[in-house]
Symmetry: C2
Subunit: 202 residues, 2 copies
């Protein structure tokens, strides 16, 4: 039955059907819990077609959630270089994305995540699996501390984006990027690699 | 003409008419630029009636923007005590409000501010005139640095609220308040009173 109503590669709706199914699967089961096979079944296509269109589960996820950038392309430059400069490089790259045309899509994504539980889940999965996991894997800190460190970084960076691009509180809204890198870089560095013994003793 | 269509104290719509006029005035002209006299004129009531209902411009503003708490009541306890503990006390009080029933109204306000430019303006005015100004006035730092210091504090605190209560990223979403006080307090302390020479040299 599924085969008879199955969609074919040439159909322009096929790509959209895959994206709709992927969006539902990632929101319901999370990035790790959703498989390309299950997405293909829900979209009534062959898994090979999902691979053909999107290449990988990461790329399917980015497309399904309308991610304006691919962290896999941006983060290698952030992670290269001395560990002491990691916070500043991460803030600089983050601000660069938000100040670019991709920032408009970022604002739309934030707006949707704040008002819609589905998009909030996708944003959460994006932050954890596409951004934080890739950074945290590189750190020489107690693995048990990584989830909290990562979510503290996310709280500062998302707060910066909300104030600069959504609420537009001055002077953060129009400050030069390097001013904010100097201000917020040490915060992010402390969350990533600083001594948080007092935090984890609590 | 205004007198003949003017609203009277006994009318249950009168209070709402004042609030509607106040919301428009504060969003359009900001807190400092909006006067009780202008709000009264727009609502077609006597200014004395606005004073009678709301007491002060601060309280009129809080009612108009549906602020879940009055920072004037909470901040004296934050500001009392040693300057070195200011960051931790501010984070503790902030988390206390968001973890209380007022937090539900806070989430609603955030949702509205992120999707609606009017509410975003009111939130901006709230942060500056009701929260940040009252804290920054007490600090012994270069007055020229205060606006950026204040908006950095706001970026970290709002980011924390978004991650804990809206996006609900774990473990920040369910961490014990004192864990977050220990983690984020030093960040807020640095933004308020720390040496930011590198930031302001930029």
């Amino acid at each position: 039955m599924a085969r008879r109503t199955g969609r074919r590669p040439g159909n322009p709706d096929t790509r959209q059907a895959i994206l709709d199914a992927a969006r539902a699967a990632f929101a319901e089961r999370g990035f790790d819990g959703a498989s390309i096979r299950a997405v293909a079944a829900a979209a009534q296509v062959d898994p090979a077609l999902v691979h053909h269109y999107f290449g990988s589960k990461d790329r399917l996820f980015l497309a399904a959630m309308h991610a304006p950038v691919d962290p896999a392309e941006l983060l290698p430059r952030v992670l290269a270089g001395d560990r002491a400069g990691l916070g500043e490089r991460l803030v600089r790259t983050f601000l660069g994305v938000w100040d670019s045309p991709a920032g408009t899509a970022g604002v739309a994504l934030l707006r949707s995540a704040v008002s819609n539980e589905w998009t909030a889940r996708l944003l959460r999965e994006f932050l954890v699996t596409q951004v934080l996991r890739r950074i945290l894997d590189q750190l020489d800190v107690d693995p048990a501390e990584l989830p909290l460190r990562g979510s503290l970084v996310a709280s500062q960076l998302i707060g910066l984006a909300v104030m600069r691009h959504v609420v537009r509180l001055e002077p953060v809204a129009s400050a030069a990027p390097e001013t904010l890198v100097a201000a917020v870089g040490p915060t992010v560095q402390r969350y990533l690699t600083g001594d948080l013994a007092e935090v984890f003793a609590g």
